[in-house]
């Protein structure tokens, strides 16, 4: 039997790449890697396509991330209870528990496979942290060794379906300007969250493509109002990494200190930034801690070292960068324990999926999201492989249709004056500012939504992209669509809860212990729903 990699090799000089697989995984971060491994261990033939390079793509690779590593037992129950008090009551303890459990298993597997964790003081591997570049380089080798065909720089542009069942995806090899198509018995969307055009660390590829593809297939999104996570960053740099800032003081232009005691960490910084520039200084740690910060978080010090500043004794200007749904919550709604989406053949994992049931209304940044990637990647990969084995049939004989619309196939005549860059700029201008998103209110939400609606009509009707240009036009469509879902949900949730900070409605309203689900592309419908548990598989 020809392997998938042999098929790729055999078609190296063809005008297009056309493959048939059991499972197609879209994405190149941890969730995609775990999904690919899980699917191959079920015996599936797996292709991974990524916009970038599996190993460097996404928000994890350039970071140093905690894991949510909580052993079973009383400690886990206490942790679930602790988080439940913080997360706005939206998480489902059974989902938190099963996520912790699956991640616990996955992290032990990593140690067993030979990932080099540091040891703790008792000489056991310290599994509560993963160093991004090493972790993702390790996962790449593991995925390759499992026989998976990885197609780097092969962004997926659209899903394929056969009479309502997802049957693969198509896109372009952007380094060779060559179309590709993979017909598959099941597809896992592990394409990450949406950074709404922000220059946060690892976010170039995180444009909400998976949301758009899922919505075109009829999937529902949930928790999109929880897209207002921000991180403090040395001004104009990409280093949206929070760890050293836990020991930072903040100062206004006149040298007065910004009071950050007893408050949500960055809220006072956000307020001060609305009034003028803010400086930070890592002046709250001990010399010993400062040494660990330098050694353990070296990229956080690149901006300072390369600017010749000692951030422990000298002030540096800071900004807040929006982290959207990457370290926010919202995404594709999962309808069952197996990470299925309600669209036959389509699964979602990692930040592409809504993490509401696990993180509630607060960030999953750091530990929870990385553990979620391990858990959901495994569930989605396993389920996709089983679905393909059961329902896939002979994929090569399937007649598939392409589902992509906005940014690929304009509804009306293509107009060269409607450009992707302008749509992206509208998203950046309207979504990222602190007084639009970190702090929300009805007036600005409505004003921004009007602009997003206008941008959507332009993109849908007139934006065309072919060849590698289609990557940008499609990203623009996904960014505009994601912004509309996020702000429409933010408007519907008429209260403040977790990262949704409505200055016009600052109270948390007990009647809103619920989810807001969004569907639709042209007409967006926001529906208030109970936060429902799913049926165990």
């Amino acid at each position: 039997m020809t392997t998938l990699r042999q098929s790729v090799q055999a078609q190296r000089r063809a005008d297009r790449l056309d493959l048939v697989a059991d499972v197609l995984v879209i994405g190149g971060g941890p969730a995609a890697s775990w999904a690919a491994l899980a699917a191959t261990s079920e015996g599936a033939r797996v292709v991974v396509v990524d916009k970038g390079y599996l190993g460097t793509s996404g928000a994890t690779a350039p970071s140093n991330t905690g894991t949510w590593f909580v052993p079973p037992g009383a400690g886990r129950e206490a942790e679930i209870e602790r988080r439940q008090k913080l997360n706005g009551g939206l998480a489902i303890p059974r989902w938190v528990d099963r996520t912790l459990h699956r991640a616990w298993q996955g992290l032990h597997a990593l140690a067993e496979w030979g990932y080099k964790f540091p040891n703790d003081d008792s000489g056991k591997p310290y599994l509560t942290n993963l160093r991004g570049p090493d972790y993702m380089a390790f996962m790449r080798r593991r995925v390759l060794r499992a026989g998976v065909a990885i197609l780097d720089h092969h962004p997926a542009l659209e899903l394929l379906s056969e009479s309502g069942v997802i049957a693969g995806a198509a896109g372009v090899d952007r380094q060779h300007n060559r179309p590709w198509r993979v017909r598959a018995g099941a597809v896992v969307l592990a394409s990450g969250g949406c950074a709404f055009g922000e220059r946060m660390l690892g976010a170039t590829g995180l444009t909400g493509d998976g949301y758009l593809m899922a919505a075109e297939a009829g999937a529902t999104l949930s928790g999109m109002e929880f897209s207002a996570q921000y991180a403090c960053t040395p001004k104009n740099t990409s280093l949206s990494k929070g760890v050293p800032f836990a020991w930072a003081s903040y100062y206004r232009e006149d040298g007065t200190r910004v009071d950050t005691a007893n408050q949500e960490r960055f809220a006072p910084v956000a307020k001060a930034l609305l009034e003028g520039p803010v400086w930070g200084r890592f002046d709250k740690g001990t010399p010993e801690l400062n040494g660990w910060l330098r050694q353990g978080q070296p990229n956080c010090f690149l901006p300072h070292d390369r600017a010749g500043i000692d951030p422990f004794t000298q002030k540096f200007e800071v900004m807040l960068r929006c982290e959207g749904t990457v370290r926010g919550v919202g995404g594709i709604k999962l309808v069952a324990d197996d990470c299925s989406t309600g669209v036959p053949g389509l699964y979602a994992a990692g930040d592409a999926a809504s993490r509401e049931r696990v993180t509630g209304a607060i960030t999953g940044g750091g530990g929870p999201n990385s553990s979620w990637a391990i858990a959901s990647g495994n569930w989605a990969g396993t389920a996709a492989a089983r679905y393909a084995a059961r329902e896939g049939g002979n994929m090569a004989e399937r007649n598939v249709v392409a589902m992509g619309r906005a940014g690929l196939r304009p509804a009306k005549i293509a107009r060269p004056d409607v450009r992707a860059a302008e749509a992206v700029q509208t998203v950046r201008d309207e979504f990222l500012p602190i007084d639009h998103n970190f702090y929300r209110n009805e007036t600005t939400l409505r004003k921004s939504l009007e602009k997003f609606d206008h941008a959507w009509c332009d993109v849908r009707d007139h934006l065309a992209g072919s060849g590698t240009d289609a990557v940008k036009t499609r990203e623009a469509a996904a960014l505009v669509a994601s912004s509309r879902w996020a702000f429409a949900s933010g408007l519907a949730r008429a209260e403040s809860r977790g990262m949704q900070r409505r200055v016009d409605l600052p109270a948390t309203d007990p009647q809103f212990v619920c989810a807001f689900e969004t569907t639709g592309l042209d007409h967006i419908e926001v529906k208030r729903c109970a936060i429902a548990d799913t049926v165990p598989a």
Binding site: A61, R131, L289
Partner: protein, 109 residues
């Protein structure tokens, strides 16, 4: 953003072309790769650590190029600085076993 591909350090392996998640480089036959799409750079520093000869320099400013020169980077000793801090060597992973982040996580805030 990515600002420098040092032709004197580069061995034309094109690894940066493959690993850049934002696809900013283009290969050039028998020459060092060129920065073809600088505005797409996400300032993630991944190319620096994957480069086996420390031939790349990413300035921390993510909003636009700073115009720093190769001579300045060389004189400051910035080439390969992030790689060395991690313990990566010749473009290969290393040093994660020495990561002291566990002590950061348990330090009082």
């Amino acid at each position: 953003m990515i600002e420098i591909v040092s032709a004197s350090r580069c061995i034309e392996c094109d690894i940066c072309v493959r690993v850049c998640p934002a696809n900013v480089f283009d290969p050039v036959r028998k020459q060092a790769p060129v920065i073809a799409r600088q505005e797409d750079c996400q300032t993630c520093f991944m190319c620096e650590i994957y480069c086996p000869t420390d031939a790349l320099y990413v300035a921390p400013c993510a909003e636009g190029p700073t115009g720093i020169s190769e001579a300045e980077v060389e004189a400051a000793g910035f080439f390969g600085g992030y790689s060395r801090a991690l313990g990566w060597n010749r473009g290969k992973p290393g040093g994660s076993e020495n990561d002291p982040t566990q002590y950061i996580r348990t330090s009082p805030r």
